[in-house]
């Protein structure tokens, strides 16, 4: 148990003064530190990603001596445990007790959806890692900006690649039984079937199911490939059992942006070689910012950064650039939101910009697992540049349809 004395004293002081005197934040803190709240997950199946989020963000801040746009930055980290209700509570605590100016996170879609109305009510500036689609689509949250990807934004290009380049005709999708998994598989299915393919089986497993045996037993074997929409370490666990049931080599495996993240890849062996995934990031991306990021991360932690680490590193860069533009006046929330939706920033994933709903528009990479210098890496084999959350569909049409879910678009080609 760690008792953080510094935080205790600070928070006790802040709590007492804030509650007793109720000074408006703006006049008091114009030149005080910028308080950034990181809402992440440090326990459960999503923990490996959540821990990476903290590590990368801390690295970014350390590299800049905890200063952005001339003001000191104070980082407060909250663990939601991957439970959406707890995330909501933690976010409320961060806002009401720790008085953060801006939140980075949350990690998982369910937590973002649960906190949606609170974010609106509290006017909480949010730089999200979570992929919840409708928060930048049909029910756009005016304080919400996402620098990573919607659930399907990286899956739709992959479906295109599977259909057109890999020439798969029949596929299965399996993912965690959460909004994130539903949205991702729905997007994959839509693009795959629009390109002439057929999704013949759709499976969803609970996030914390201990054993995938019953699901693997249900898989049809007369397919070209299986798409894994898992998050955290579930992709790895599923794949391992998939091999144990002798299915390796019988069905090709492709993964979504979180199925074979660098954080779990380091625990895998030769059985992972050749797996194709799509993501908005790879540690192998060749640009100067990324090279430095990856090198420093590897020195500190001994493995390559992946999706979750890059997520907070990108969000931090976005925050930094936006703060520069508004001269550090984060208390002016309207100015912040206007600035963040109009900037273009160079980050470790390449150049990013945002659409008018707050979602990122940037490249998506198709990657293949290969061995380099004795470790497994996600080598970039193809790049789809300038991918938006709508893929090639027209925005107005896209938004007229219901949000991607378990039931939409309806799966018409399922076989019993």
């Amino acid at each position: 148990m760690a008792i953080n004395r510094r935080r205790f004293i600070q928070a006790a002081g802040a709590g007492l003064s804030a509650s007793a005197l109720g000074f408006p934040a703006i006049s008091r803190a114009q030149s005080g530190p910028i308080r950034v709240g990181l809402v992440t997950v440090k326990t459960g199946p999503l923990a490996s990603g959540g821990i990476d989020m903290e590590r990368a963000l801390t690295q970014y801040l350390k590299e800049r001596n905890y200063t952005m746009a001339g003001r000191k930055v104070e980082l407060i980290v909250a663990d939601s445990g991957g439970v959406a209700a707890q995330a909501r509570t933690k976010i409320q605590e961060l806002v009401e007790r720790d008085k953060i100016h801006i939140m980075i996170g949350p990690l998982d879609t369910a937590s973002a959806l649960a906190a949606d109305d609170y974010i609106r009510q509290a006017h909480l500036l949010t730089l999200s890692v979570a992929a919840a689609e409708d928060m930048t689509q049909r029910k756009p949250n005016p304080w919400f900006t996402r620098g990573t990807s919607t659930s399907s934004q990286s899956a739709m290009p992959l479906a295109d690649y599977c259909a057109k380049t890999l020439k798969y005709k029949r596929m299965i999708t399996i993912a965690d039984d959460l909004a994130y998994g539903h949205e991702m598989c729905a997007g994959f299915q839509r693009v795959f079937e629009d390109a002439g393919g057929k999704i013949v089986q759709k499976l969803f497993s609970p996030l914390t199911v201990p054993d995938y045996g019953t699901y693997i037993a249900q898989l049809k074997t007369n397919v070209d490939g299986i798409f894994l929409g898992f998050a955290g370490s579930n992709g790895f666990r599923f794949f391992r059992q998939f091999n144990e049931y002798g299915l390796r080599g019988k069905i090709a495996v492709v993964g979504g942006m979180t199925a074979f993240d660098e954080a779990v890849l380091r625990n895998m062996g030769d059985e992972a070689l050749g797996i194709i995934t799509a993501c908005w990031y790879s540690a192998e991306i060749e640009n100067a910012i990324n090279k430095r990021f990856v090198a420093n991360f590897r020195v500190d932690w001994g493995y390559d950064p992946g999706f979750y680490a890059a997520a907070t590193y990108v969000e931090a860069a976005v925050l930094d650039a936006t703060l520069q533009k508004i001269h550090g006046k984060i208390e002016d929330k309207q100015a912040f939101m206007k600035a963040v939706r109009s900037i273009k920033v160079d980050t470790c994933r390449g150049p990013v910009r945002f659409d008018h709903l707050g979602n990122v528009v940037a490249s998506v990479f198709i990657r293949k697992v290969e061995r380099k210098d004795g470790r497994l890496v996600n080598r970039v084999i193809y790049t789809y540049p300038d991918v938006s959350q709508f893929w090639h569909y027209k925005e107005s049409e896209f938004l007229k349809n219901p949000v991607y879910s378990r039931d939409w678009p309806p799966a018409k080609n399922l076989e019993p």
Partner: protein, 312 residues
Amino acid sequence: MRRPGLAVIAAFLLALPWFAGEYYVNLSSQILIAAVFAASLNLLVGYGGLPSLGHASWLGLAAYISAWMSLKLGVGHWVSAPVALLATTLVACAFGWISLRATGLGFLMITLALSQVLWGTAYRWVSVTDGDNGLRGLTRPAPFGIGLDDATSFYYFTLAIAAVAIVLMAMFVASPFGAALRGTRDQPRRMGALGHAVWTVRWITFVYSGFWGAVSGLLFVYYNKYIHPASLSITSSAEALLGVVAGGSGTLAGPIVGAAIIMLLKNYVSAYIERWNMLMGFVFVLIVIFMPEGVVPGVRRLLRRFRGGGAG
């Protein structure tokens, strides 16, 4: 409890929003909800001698029914609240019938199992409950047109309901029925020989306890505007039971104090000490071993000793 003591507490509670910040007002609302929840459990545990590890069932069931009706049927709170309370009470009737096939440990295990059924159903019946995503985008009721979205209004709303709940529960305990209940706890065989329908007394208490658990469930979902299967988990029931046991299960004030302690530990301390569950476990173990009658009776005992003379 002494009258002046009660008056002081009442004054403090009423005046709270005037001097405490938003965070503390919200925390107080949460404590009140937990207090009602624990007090309802105490009817069974303390006065009935029937320990239950499934009390979260009522909170979760009422919360989910209310949430589902608002979201999927679009009805207003003045419809969904009574329906949720009624439905949960009916389920309590059924669960009570099953659980009371045993007493003591067996009863505990069955309440736990039944609660797990609800938990598992909330998790897996995704088409109804949206599973792990929980049900979100809920609203708070606006009784007589008064909005409850800000911390202070909701606090007074909760305070009013909690006060009514506790007063009614106190009346229940003080009534002849309450005396019969305590009789079945202490001397079930003698009570049976005297002609009391022991099973019926227990069953009625079970249902009544479930009803107030449902009330706390509605308050819970109104406060959070969100419900998730985790609220139906063993941990949720365990926290309530811990609150009751820690505070003192044989008294009315005990569970309230206990629930307050648990809530404070959980919300306030968890920011500074990361491992809340471990702390809760230690508190559980220490209280059960060293202060098994709970904090309130323990403190009363100490006070009596200080006042002079009386054996504890």
